[in-house]
Symmetry: C3
Subunit: 262 residues, 3 copies
């Protein structure tokens, strides 16, 4: 991928309305991340309106982090509408292996054929049905461990699958790349993974999902690198990260992206 | 208005207990904004206690951003008690035009006669029944477009109506002023509009709603100007903004307020 | 207590999975605080999975700040499992005296015998059945006022009770200490008390509850002191505070802790 910057440029030009049904921990961070990146976020979760709203958004993200039954209903309704209207939607299967309730919901959402699935290695392994030892929402497994599961999941569901960690892995079942951008402080700040899912949705609005996902991950990791250099700990990392998301332009992304074929 | 600082001074002196039924995205920011300003925030939304708590607070703010039916019930119950007890309450009709569910709830809350209504132009137009094209929670319309709707809404409901944007517009149906304070970065930080609604409620506790609203908007915009000057992007804007809310005193507000008759 | 640093060291070494059922305002801050401190937070509240998850966590924190009936059920179910499996659990009775709904829930949770109870003076007084005038979630009473109530509550429930304020007071009904660490800006930042409850839970995982609580409070207050020195207001205090939680090591805690027998 020679020019990931074009996907950032197009996202900013269209400023897509991204509908997010996400968890309580991530909601504020995700809205700020999407605003800083140049998209237009909306958090709408009530069963009474989620499906209607999914029909007017340009992309949808679904995250099961703090899910409960009414939210799960809204997720399924919104994802169904997104599928019917060809609105790209991204699934973030937070801690999907942790409880029986999550495993069942994960399977139902998978059946609704997400455009992109983004998770850590434990989550992708759990979603792929492999044995995993997910601990909380942290990745207990290395990205490499989940590469085969990611390829299988992508082929099975016709989805792009992104496994994020120290080095990210993205596959559509045929092609695969690794993205080496990022900073060691990112796992010490909550909701950065969840918020990335929203950015992937914003990039996927009207753009090819595989390339859009790769570009989104490189952009996000590059912002992390800048924030790491500009901060002194997990607290000052956060404002620096939002500033970097806002400041990085397509040329800077092309210069800083570290993408290679897997 | 020669002396908006007096409204800030009185608010800080009484440190009003402000009851907020607001959205998940804004809750933390709003609490921090109110604490930095000098008020005492409480977030209480359960149907089992919202009405009881509204009776002991000095002001109430109601925001429909991430509303669902149990929350809507609590909003209506709390607003009813506020009306009965002459506790000022402020309505923030987030994205009220976006779905049928929101339009119906907006109409029900309007019928409970809020003391102040604060929204962006799209929301005020939608609430006034005019045709609008609200996109997410961003303002798709300019403030000027909504001035007539704001005047009509104020006369109809006996409320002070504040339309916020690059230049804010406040009317009670008879009088009207514009407030030019603010910073271009504010729309790139989530929940700043929602949190302003809480500040308006705090200023309106025991003070004349029209003047209190104008003073609150000037104070908030001035803090935005200081934060803009002290930050490098939407991330560093946020801590600088809270610092500015905390640091601005009545004399500084009087010196920096840009209020004129409309 | 000569060596509070050993409790920090052990907490970091085990990086306990802390299950938090907390309020919407605090959730993000608490997750970041726990990550910065070195623990592994998870926010899980649905009735469908809270009890199951409580059985795999190393500690549980329960906070009633924005409670509603389904959350209350999950709190009781999770606390019951924690009691059965000897998982330490910490109760944060936010504004427990404010409404009848809260008083009833507080009594039910107390009957499930929390390992530690952490609140401000108003909350401890209310929980102990004494007359109190809690205002929002702020402490309307001084810590000293609640010392006898704290001792009584500790003896009655077999719990460690921590009353936090300008100078904290911790008792197990027999022993008692005061911790003088902290900064005057802390009450002006929302959710710092709630997040402290999570840190107490993390320290209590596999460690003696009384000593763990004392060490957690000294550590937290010391981070506040560093943040106060490094910031200019309540906004810049927050990132500085997370940086300090991350930076303080056991030796620094031992050097800076201000603990004395009460």
């Amino acid at each position: 991928m020679e020019d990931p910057g074009q996907y950032l440029a197009m996202m900013r030009q269209t400023a897509p309305l991204v509908h997010n049904i996400t968890n309580y921990v991530a909601m504020n961070v995700m809205a700020n991340v999407l605003l800083a990146a140049g998209a237009s976020p909306a958090m709408i979760h009530a069963r009474e309106e989620a499906a209607e709203f999914a029909g007017i958004a340009q992309a949808l993200s679904v995250n099961i982090g703090t899910v409960s039954p009414p939210w799960a209903e809204a997720m399924e309704a919104a994802a169904t509408v997104a599928g019917e209207k060809d609105v790209p939607w991204v699934l973030d299967p937070v801690a999907v292996g942790a409880t029986g309730y999550r495993r069942a919901l994960g399977a139902r959402l998978l059946a609704l054929r997400p455009t992109v699935i983004r998770g850590n290695a434990s989550e992708i392994l759990a979603l792929a049905g492999a044995v995993s030892a997910g601990k909380g929402v942290d990745a207990g497994e290395s990205v490499e461990t989940a590469e085969n599961a990611a390829r299988a999941l992508a082929r099975h569901g016709g989805a792009v699958v992104a496994v994020t960690g120290a080095v990210d892995f993205v596959t559509d079942g045929t092609r695969a790349v690794r993205i080496a951008n990022g900073d060691a402080m990112m796992p010490r700040v909550t909701a950065l993974g969840c918020s990335l899912t929203g950015v992937v949705a914003a990039f996927a609005a009207g753009q090819s999902p595989f390339e859009a996902t790769v570009a989104a991950l490189a952009y996000y990791g590059l912002a992390g690198e800048r924030a790491g250099a500009a901060s002194e700990g997990p607290g000052t990392f956060q404002p620096a990260f939002l500033d970097a998301l806002h400041a990085i332009d397509p040329a800077a992304l092309n210069a800083g992206a570290r993408i290679e074929l897997a």
